[in-house]
């Protein structure tokens, strides 16, 4: 009351130009969440290494890379969806529908590789548009909307193929699954390139920045002139693109359009990876880097279980447990930081 509210002395808090120690900066750049993921990965690798000497074989390491490529692709787009405050659990079904579309297009065009790729991506985008319109125009909650299309898209894929796989004989197309330019399996290259592209999109463009804002506080974004519906529609379209590319890789690896096998359950792993990778379930937070770390962690875990001869059914249990763990960690963090943001005063 008596203290004169004079302006603060000019010696204000340190500004952005003051440089903290390099170690500190490296730590900040990677982030706490990612550091914990790296530690978990190191521990996991250490445990597996003591049990088997097959883990470090180059063939095994590349095998991990190939086996996570599908999950990785859908986890990347899932990250964008979750950052925007939504959720897309239809990604697995979209991948299946895209796979079927690619195979049918190849069949129809006499193995025009480009047509196969295009068909899968277009199918993915179309599914994304359907999801986006249900969510923005019909105002259906994203979880419910994509739960519905999870079923519907799978149904369409099964209808198109009458329930069975469609063989793909285009060798150029199948190279996407089995080719090894520079000794690196093609699916790994596809995954890495896609990850970098989406990372750049999310981090360095207006589009990405607005996605964070929309997820963090949609009202604030709206009052800053951001057209929420346009962005939400675009997010689900991007999700469709990611799932479509996953469908291409799936088709090329299995040499067939697969309506169901190979893409079923991808949504669970994608959501688990994104949340484990540090995405806030309510939106506004999350990075492609974190998600990719989580994808590698999950892939390593699965690989380890296979190497150690653990029955594959346990993997399903482990995946479910990990999803709960990821959300539990998040809730714990929220409860610690949420206190200072909550106000009870009216």
């Amino acid at each position: 009351m008596t203290a004169a509210p004079s302006p603060a002395p000019t010696a204000t808090a340190p500004t952005g130009t003051a440089a903290p120690s390099p170690l500190r900066r490296a730590f900040d750049a990677v982030g706490l969440q990612n550091v914990s993921l790296l530690i978990a990965l190191a521990l996991l690798v250490a445990i597996i290494s003591t049990q088997t000497d097959k883990f470090w074989l180059p063939a095994n390491l590349l095998n991990i890379g190939v086996s996570v490529s599908l999950v990785g692709l859908v986890a990347i787009v899932q990250t964008v969806v979750i950052v925007s405050g939504g959720l897309d659990i239809s990604v697995g079904s979209i991948a299946g529908l895209a796979s079927v579309s690619a195979a049918l297009a190849l069949q129809a065009t006499g193995n025009q590789t480009a047509a196969g790729i295009l068909a899968a991506v277009v199918a993915g985008i179309a599914c994304g548009v359907v999801n986006g319109l249900i969510i923005t125009v019909l105002r259906v909650n994203p979880v419910i909307a994509t739960l519905a299309t999870l079923s519907a898209f799978r149904g369409v894929a099964l209808l198109l193929t009458n329930g069975s796989a469609i063989g793909v004989l285009d060798e150029q197309f199948n190279e996407i699954g089995s080719g090894r330019p520079l000794g690196i399996p093609f699916p790994i290259i596809v995954l890495a390139v896609f990850a970098i592209l989406v990372h750049v999109l999310l981090r360095y463009t207006i589009w990405g920045r607005n996605i964070y804002a929309i997820g963090g506080n949609p009202i604030a974004a709206r009052l800053s002139g951001v057209d929420l519906n346009r962005y939400r529609l675009a997010v689900y379209m991007l999700s469709g693109v990611g799932a479509g590319i996953a469908g291409i890789v799936l088709t090329a690896r299995t040499h067939s359009g697969q309506p169901q096998s190979g893409s079923q359950g991808l949504e669970l792993e994608a959501v688990t990876a994104a949340l484990l990778g540090g995405c806030a379930l309510n939106g506004g937070k999350g990075t492609i880097f974190g998600t990719m770390l989580a994808v590698v962690l999950l892939g390593t875990l699965t690989n380890g279980m296979i190497l150690l001869g653990i029955q594959s059914f346990y993997q399903l249990v482990a995946k479910g447990a990990l999803l709960v763990l990821a959300v539990t960690i998040q809730q714990y963090r929220l409860s610690r930081t949420g206190v200072q943001t909550g106000t009870a005063f009216t």
Partner: protein, 528 residues
Amino acid sequence: MRLLASTGATRGIVSEPDVEPTHQPLLRIEGLTKRFANVHALTDVGFALRGGEVLALVGENGAGKSTLLKILSGDYKADAGVVAIDGRPVVFTSPREARAAGIRVISQEPEIVPGVSVAENLFLGDLPRRGFGFVHGRDLLTRAQETLLRFGFADALDPSALGESLSPAQRQLVEIVRALAAEARVLALDEPTSSLTDEEAERLFALIDRLRTQGIAIIYVSHRMREIARLADRVVVLRDGRLVADAPKAELSQAHIVRLMVGRPLQDVLHRTRAVRHEVMLEVSGVRTPLHGGIDLSVRAGEVVALAGLIGAGRSELARAIFGDFKRQAGRVLVGGREVPPNDPHAAIEAGIALAPEDRKGMALVLMRSVLENETLPILGKLSTAGFVHARLERAIGQEYVDRLRIRTPSLDQDVAKLSGGNQQKVVIARWLATKPKVLILDEPTRGIDVGAKAEIYKLIDELAGTGMAVLLISSELLEVLGLADRILVMQNGRITGELAAAEATERAIMELAMIDHLELSATGAAG
């Protein structure tokens, strides 16, 4: 079944024969204190209430009325102090316990289950205790009918009507009857007439009169002087969480009550160097929304115009309607003579309007993102080529406004959630200054921030007006309004009810325009 009229007045005595009759207050509150973080919502508040008494609880927005009610209803736990019923201290850990003790708080928005009937709503939660099961629909209906008849509302409420089909007044009635049926002895009504028509309000007043004769103690929270004059036996005035008056109504004139509510010593943090220019920067004409009928106002370059009024007067919604975020059904908004298309915040920003909304955390800030990202959100388009944001340019601009507004943050990358309220508000203002607006709308810019930060924001408003910006200030703090504004527009119920020049404005004049019923004002001249 007992008849309330015969037992009500003496119920306290009948049920508590060992307690000294008549002079024992039904409800007694002593030393009630409640803090939220660093806000003192209530400090050492105490009063007593006898059965059959109607106590008007008045105070400005944020004076602590709601907090007090929430303690009585069991929603909040007091940090210190005693609530006693029939002289026995009680502590509520849940709304259920408060109800069991006979206290019922009827909120402004009655809690009615939309999908079930009035009858079920009436006995909600009390169903098991009353001894009928869920399947006995007919019993329930009969029981509801009897209850409605007993309290005189058989004609106003159809027990089989669904909750969602009820008018606001009927919802209020259901809540009240529900409370009475559960034998409530203390009834607290929070601005019960805010959504009622005059006729419905009259019915409510008649009911309150009847409850009074039945020995029920009533706490009546209202801003409306006419209702207080009509109903209250006693008036308790809260200000800044403290009790400043507790007196029989006869001893307090309306004007006196208003003065008690606002009377604070003038702080000397408010200075204005007035520099109103001729050019009209913002012109609003005939704007209609679902809440507003034909609003006209204008703000000149360099002018600070304040919108005063109570919560619910429609000020924030008017600001949002001007900005394009609240449905504008008719009318025009012009900035610098150029028309701004309706219902499009993006177009409003392009036209040079900026809005720092009332709810800083809920509507303005992306809390988990950095100071920088929050600052540049609306101007990313201007900071980028082909969709890519120029990081260095962005940081330079972010830093410029951090320096200019003296935002105290360890770095531009700090999560905005970790800043103090004052610095958060500055981030919001920085964001809008970065858009280089012609019209700046500030909705409660100093709510919940400390005095030092307030003074800085006052100074900033003055400076901004000095540069020729048109400022529309919404504030419930009259000191702020009086100290900063060149002109004051007072709103009530979606209309502008008066305009005061800075020189002639007083707190009392503003409060009278904001609160006192118009007809009464014109009929009796100065109120009180």
